[in-house]
Amino acid sequence: MVDILNIENEINFLGGEVLLDINYWEPESLMDAVSILANRGDQVRALAGGTDLLVKMKKGPINWKGIVNLKGLTELKGFIFEGNTITIGALTQISALIENPLLNLHFPVLIDAARSLGTPQVRNLATIGGNLCNASPAADVALVLLMYEARLLIAGANRSRKVPVREFYVGPGQTVLQQGEILTAIEIDLPPLNSKGMFYKLGKRKSHEIALVNVAVLLTTNPGTMQIAKARIAVGSVASTQLRIKDAEDSLIDSVATLSAFIQAAELAKTAVNPIDDVRSTASYRKHMVGVLTKRALVEAWGGEL
């Protein structure tokens, strides 16, 4: 089990390895950006919103020496709706997500997660792509993208590829992006008809919080019945990556919606996770909360009588 704590909370007594300055590029095309990242590899970092990168840079110590500012890649911002799929540019700010009417209409749970992220100031800078690539198990928007089964469009020097979001993470702070690859867009299909979702984020304050536990569920029902056709349960902050809990989901598929079915699914979710103790909370509390929040989310997502 990786201790997430140590990565974030080192105090730098000696001021860090102070670089005289760092190298800087502002590529004007995606290909230029990809090329710099491919050639410089580990020595550079891509800058999107900066809300994670700048904080890490200031805290130190850092082992990279240059920044590739992606802001010139304006084609990586914005929304395209086509058929049943929305494609969101990776450099789209979280605040822009919140303001988009079609997202509000079709992906309300994504909006809930976006609203819960950080503070208004952070939301005006942070990007959807950054939230994914930072690969924090506690990420809010990324968790809902896992629930919505997003596909991530990645561009590299010699190829482009699409990776389902559930295959994107390797560990805390680590994704499958190779040297020289950039996440360019996120594709989400409209959820099946008769679906309703719910997102819960647990924190000790109502804003400025990194989730102690977060949960996103989606239930698809057979209309006019009490039957669950599909279930998706995504849980964050309780493992080295965000998880879809297959056992819990399977227990609900083709089942009748009852309170005890939801309780059982929640228990399965609870059993599946392995959280840690850190400065924010304890493993046992987090584990217990997975059960509590999953049950609540399922009941709320169901919405009707049980």
Partner: protein, 151 residues
């Protein structure tokens, strides 16, 4: 690197290291000390400025990244001879104690009311939640902003 910044409608030419933040350039290079440094890590909001009208933490923005944007700081809001209505309301309601969070709150409040002129109290609290205050409990700050919104 020599850059050109648009701040409060004026153009400033400065030569800055890449890793210098917008906050440090404002305070050290341009003597615009109204924007404050409370934590230098995007956690307190004392450094809030408007970038193309939206509130952001200037301590986690590289100055070079602010090129091409319209930056507004507290110095561009009203002035000592004539205050902006938000500033007048904060004064009139006794919403300013130590004053360190105040410039950031003015910027967040301005952005809020510019985009939502008649917010509910809950929307006001959401709008300033990125600005920590340790003196006021936010009570009179919220009252002042609600007062402006009712006009």
């Amino acid at each position: 690197m020599p850059i050109s910044l648009q701040i409060n409608g004026e153009t400033y030419e400065v030569n800055v290291p890449i890793k210098k933040t917008l906050l440090d350039v404002l305070r050290d290079d341009l003597a615009l000390t109204g924007t404050k440094k409370g934590c230098d890590s995007g956690e307190c909001g004392a450094c809030t400025v408007l970038m193309d009208g939206k509130p952001v933490n200037s301590c986690i923005i590289l100055a070079v990244d602010a090129v091409g944007k319209q930056i507004s700081t507290i110095e561009g809001i009203g002035g000592i001879m004539e205050l902006h209505p938000i500033q007048e309301a904060l004064v009139a309601h006794g919403a300013i104690q130590c004053g360190y969070c105040t410039p950031g709150i003015v910027m967040s409040a301005k952005a809020l009311l510019d985009s939502n002129p008649h917010p509910t109290e809950s929307e006001v609290r959401e709008g300033i939640t990125g600005n920590l205050c340790r003196c006021t409990g936010y009570v009179k700050v919220v009252e002042a902003i609600m007062d402006v919104s009712r006009r």
